[in-house]
């Protein structure tokens, strides 16, 4: 049966812009960036954690019709495409401060929760990203 979750994907509206954001600002690293001709296979991961890759996929033809792709892009830009990423950090406040200096669009300040301290941000397209400093145990 299934052993582990290896790759999960989100829709991005521009893969170069996605790289600027996820690698340049959030500090992830490129796992695979492959031009297959019919598509650009682009995955990133947290440095040191190559077993959890994120596929950054651009919705468009021929995988889906131009009309459908337009609807998907619209949903992404409304923040309603269901693309969620949850990252863990050691120090939520420090990470928040660092991301703020890098000009990341932060949607919620670090907040104490039952499970730790977390904050929110958006990627340049509308996807929702959460960053948490989780309690031990």
């Amino acid at each position: 049966m299934m052993k582990r979750l290896n790759i999960s994907g989100i829709y991005v509206l521009d893969q170069d812009e996605a790289l600027d954001f996820y690698v340049g600002k959030l500090g992830l690293e490129v796992d695979t960036d492959l031009d297959l001709g019919f598509m650009r296979w682009l995955t990133v991961c947290v440095p040191g954690d190559p077993d959890h890759k994120i596929l950054l996929e651009r919705p468009g033809p021929p995988a889906m019709s131009e009309e459908t792709a337009e609807q998907v892009r619209e949903m992404v830009s409304k923040g309603a495409a269901g693309g969620h990423l949850f990252f863990a950090v050691d120090d939520a406040h420090a990470t928040y401060a660092e991301l703020r200096t890098r000009g990341v669009e932060l949607t919620e300040e670090p907040t104490e929760q039952a499970y730790g301290i977390d904050f929110g941000l958006r990627d340049p397209f509308g996807n929702h990203v959460r960053v948490a400093q989780l309690k031990q145990g």
Binding site: L13, E70, R73, E74, V76, S77, K78, G79, F86, E105, T107, E108, E109, T111, Q113, A114, Y115, D118, G120, R122, F125, G126, H128, R130, A132
Partner: protein
């Protein structure tokens, strides 16, 4: 056309994020329209087209959602919570809460605490549905 729509959506999403973040501040439609760099009527119309409800209604639901959270995760008084989430009068808060949730804040508190899920999900899913009351009734309760 599509690119224009995407840019419009993202601009409005940024304003909605600001409402999510600063819900307790005195956010009025002229201020929000200014942030979106559009006229007031254009802002209301496009916000409603993109998110399915007026900005005023969205803000009310956001505040009520925060009140639900505080009612169900703390033992703070209803008056305290009313002020905390951005209402200036307990009467307005109680009326809007009842309109949107269908019961009073005190009755809602008896539903008990919330399970261990990320707060952003609890917030989004505990938020009363937009369809709970009509826009017409919502506009009557402007304060």
């Amino acid at each position: 056309m599509s690119k224009v729509t995407e840019e419009r959506n993202r601009r409005l999403l940024r304003v909605r994020d600001l409402m999510d973040r600063s819900y307790a501040d005195a956010l009025d439609v002229p201020t929000l329209a200014g942030l979106a760099c559009v006229s007031e009527s254009h802002f209301i119309r496009t916000f409603r087209a993109v998110f399915g409800e007026t900005p005023h209604r969205y803000l009310q639901r956001r505040r009520v959602e925060r009140a639900i959270w505080l009612l169900r995760t703390t033992d703070r008084s209803v008056t305290d919570i009313c002020v905390e989430v951005g209402f200036t009068s307990l009467g307005t808060f109680s009326r809007v809460f009842h309109e949107i949730v269908g019961e009073s804040p005190t009755a809602h508190r008896r539903r008990g605490s919330v399970g261990p899920v990320p707060s952003c999900f609890a917030h989004a899913w505990l938020r009363p549905a937009s369809t709970a009351i009509s826009e017409k009734r919502a506009s009557v309760s402007q304060h």
